[in-house]
């Protein structure tokens, strides 16, 4: 087509088209542009709203109720476990089928998860269906109706509470951590996440309704979202009607120390030993986390003992030739915490392993740690947090807790800076402070050869 006529025509056109245009200057994008933004707000209806704005096409939503197992009493022990199961029961406007099918129809899901302090009702949903999903979550958390036959079915049906408890019984490690909390805190944080067997069949609608009304109340219910515009979420949250606050004072957790053993037999011994640790609000939290990484959090390489980086594993491996597992443990709550280690070993080696680990823990806490150890532990801690924040589900838990307990949200970047600012002296000071509390201990599995607490720390 390149005739004598078209060529000059094309040339004149070409001069005006993109090929001749000056290359546009690359738009300066700063790192803050792509950083997710955090918002937190308390609404007039008593709802707390926390948002992390990310460009994700999927929105993670959660309604967080400050109603975990620590708020139970002797009469309704384990009711928070019941409530985790009750997330599928009918509400004022939705039946059991309605809840399941309408969330399926949105391509979404609803899960309920509980900690000692909070109950999370979570959902993943595409951005355009957020409104409907929030309505479902609202039904689940503020408009429960506990029908007597559904409540009793949940306690007898083999795929409900009895299944949870049966699964729990196959997990001696979980059992051990529950026992440790119970020994250390007695009531409040010491109440188990799992309903005790003897309460099965004893929960009734009146009791559950009373628990829900006093805990799913104004100021203790939060709607949080990751990957949603904060104005939109706040508008959706303004439609919530949390129960009027009962105004009853929250029982403070107090660290007592103690020892609990539950011999269930078998080939292995499961042991957890802990001192009183910092709470979530405590400035000692990050130094304690660094200390935990100095002690070692289990092997980073599959099938290895992790002796290269873990002081606990190094000490224990010198005392026994048998396989073992040892890891430091921290548990931090709004007003209390634990700091210690967990160990698993064959029955014959239990005594050696527990003694070696406990001695190493004592030594590290009293002698302090070196700069090199602290620097390595800082890097490990930051890497671990980076990996965890990659998981939006963990991010959501983190956001929910901050929304309930504080008036600002720390972004991951701010946390990394805080970690960097911790000095070896801080860590050693915290170590001293931790070792000044009395230790607690829990053992399960075959406890025949597990030394008693007073013998370990004599």
């Amino acid at each position: 087509m390149a005739t004598g006529l078209t060529r000059p025509l094309a040339r004149s056109l070409k001069g005006r088209m993109f090929s001749a245009a000056a290359q546009p200057e690359a738009r300066a994008s700063t790192s803050t542009d792509s950083e997710p933004k955090c918002y937190i707000k308390k609404l007039n209806n008593g709802m707390l709203v926390g948002t992390i704005e990310t460009p994700s096409p999927l929105t993670r939503l959660a309604v967080v109720a400050n109603a975990g197992s620590r708020f139970e009493s002797a009469e309704n022990l384990g009711v928070s476990h019941f409530l985790r199961q009750a997330a599928r029961l009918r509400t004022e406007n939705l039946s059991q089928v309605g809840i399941t099918r309408s969330s399926l129809q949105l391509g979404s899901d609803v899960t309920c998860m509980g900690t000692r302090e909070n109950i999370f009702y979570k959902s993943n949903v595409t951005r355009n269906c957020v409104g409907t999903m929030v309505e479902i979550l609202q039904e689940l958390t503020t408009r429960q109706v506990f029908k007597p036959w559904e409540v009793s079915d949940l306690q007898t049906s083999p795929d409900a509470l009895p299944l949870d408890l049966a699964v729990f019984k196959t997990q001696p490690f979980l059992h051990c951590v529950e026992l440790l909390h119970s020994a250390a805190f007695r009531d409040t944080l010491g109440r188990s996440l799992y309903a005790p067997d003897h309460m099965l069949g004893k929960y009734n609608p009146a009791q559950i309704t009373q628990y829900v009304k006093s805990n799913f109340s104004t100021g203790r219910l939060a709607l949080v979202g990751v990957g949603i515009c904060h104005e939109e979420l706040e508008e959706l949250a303004s439609g919530f009607e949390p129960y009027a606050s009962a105004g009853s004072p929250i029982e403070k957790a107090f660290y007592h120390s103690g020892e609990l053993r539950h011999n269930t037999g078998g080939d292995l011994s499961y042991v957890a030993v802990a001192y009183g640790g910092p709470s979530q609000a405590d400035k000692d939290l990050l130094p304690a986390e660094i200390l935990k990484h100095v002690l070692g959090v289990g092997p980073h390489i599959k099938y290895s003992l992790g002796t290269a980086t873990s002081q606990l594993a190094k000490a224990v491996s010198q005392s026994t030739d048998h396989p073992f597992a040892v890891s430091s443990l921290t548990a931090n709550y709004s007003d209390g915490g634990l700091f210690g280690f967990t160990a698993v070993a064959p029955v014959s080696q239990a005594e050696k392993v527990v003694r070696a680990a406990a001695n190493q823990l004592k030594t590290v806490l009293s002698n302090g740690v070196s700069d090199a150890d602290v620097n390595r532990a800082k890097t490990q801690l930051k890497a671990e947090m980076c990996m965890q924040f990659e998981n939006p589900d963990i991010l959501l838990n983190w956001l929910g807790e901050q929304t309930l307990y504080s008036d600002q949200i720390l972004t991951p970047d701010e946390i990394y800076k805080l970690v960097d600012n911790v000095t070896t002296a801080d860590v050693n000071a915290v170590a001293k402070k931790i070792s000044s509390s009395k230790p607690s201990m829990a053992a399960t599995g075959n406890t025949g050869n597990v030394p008693y607490l007073d013998r370990i720390f004599s």
Partner: protein, 167 residues
């Protein structure tokens, strides 16, 4: 003996007749309702209202209205009240047997015990060809539906399930 048989047949006739009128209380066409299964759905077949609203609408029925008086007259003519039974004791299960069974599982235990007692007493009375003393007959005003709301709820749940499955 002859009069007695006559009495029973009269009573049965009345029982059927009045049932039809009582159960189809809100319909314009009692006869068609009698032959249909819908009378068991008398609550749900109306405009769908929330349970408290339905209750209020029922109570609002004027006690001096002709309809109320007629229903009460029919009720007082029926046989089941003479045996100490209540309206919900004599629901004919038919194709809704599973719903009635489920509803019976859901009602409070004391209601179920009372129902079983009334039915057993009625069977005994019927076998003995006698009725209760007049002061123990069920009163129209006191005969609240203890089972019907549960049946309605079960049927609503099943209808919803069916709708989800066919949608």
């Amino acid at each position: 003996m002859k009069t007695f048989v006559g009495n029973v047949s009269r009573n049965i006739r009345l029982l059927l007749f009045t049932n039809c009128l009582i159960f189809s209380s809100v319909s314009n066409d009692p006869i068609s309702l009698w032959f249909s299964r819908r009378y068991i759905l008398r609550e749900t077949s109306n405009v769908k209202m929330a349970a408290p609203a339905r209750q209020a609408a029922k109570q609002a029925l004027d006690k001096h209205s002709l309809l109320y008086k007629f229903k009460k007259w029919c009720y007082n003519k029926s046989y089941f009240r003479e045996l100490g039974l209540r309206r919900d004791d004599i629901i004919i299960e038919g194709i809704h047997a599973p719903a009635v069974k489920e509803a019976l599982r859901r009602i409070p235990k004391q209601d179920l015990d009372a129902r079983n007692f009334r039915i057993m007493r009625a069977q005994q009375l019927s076998m003995m060809k006698t009725v209760l003393p007049k002061e123990e007959w069920t009163q129209y005003e006191e005969d609240a539906a203890y089972l019907q709301p549960y049946i309605d709820e079960v049927i609503r749940e099943w209808e919803e399930k069916k709708q989800w499955d066919t949608a």
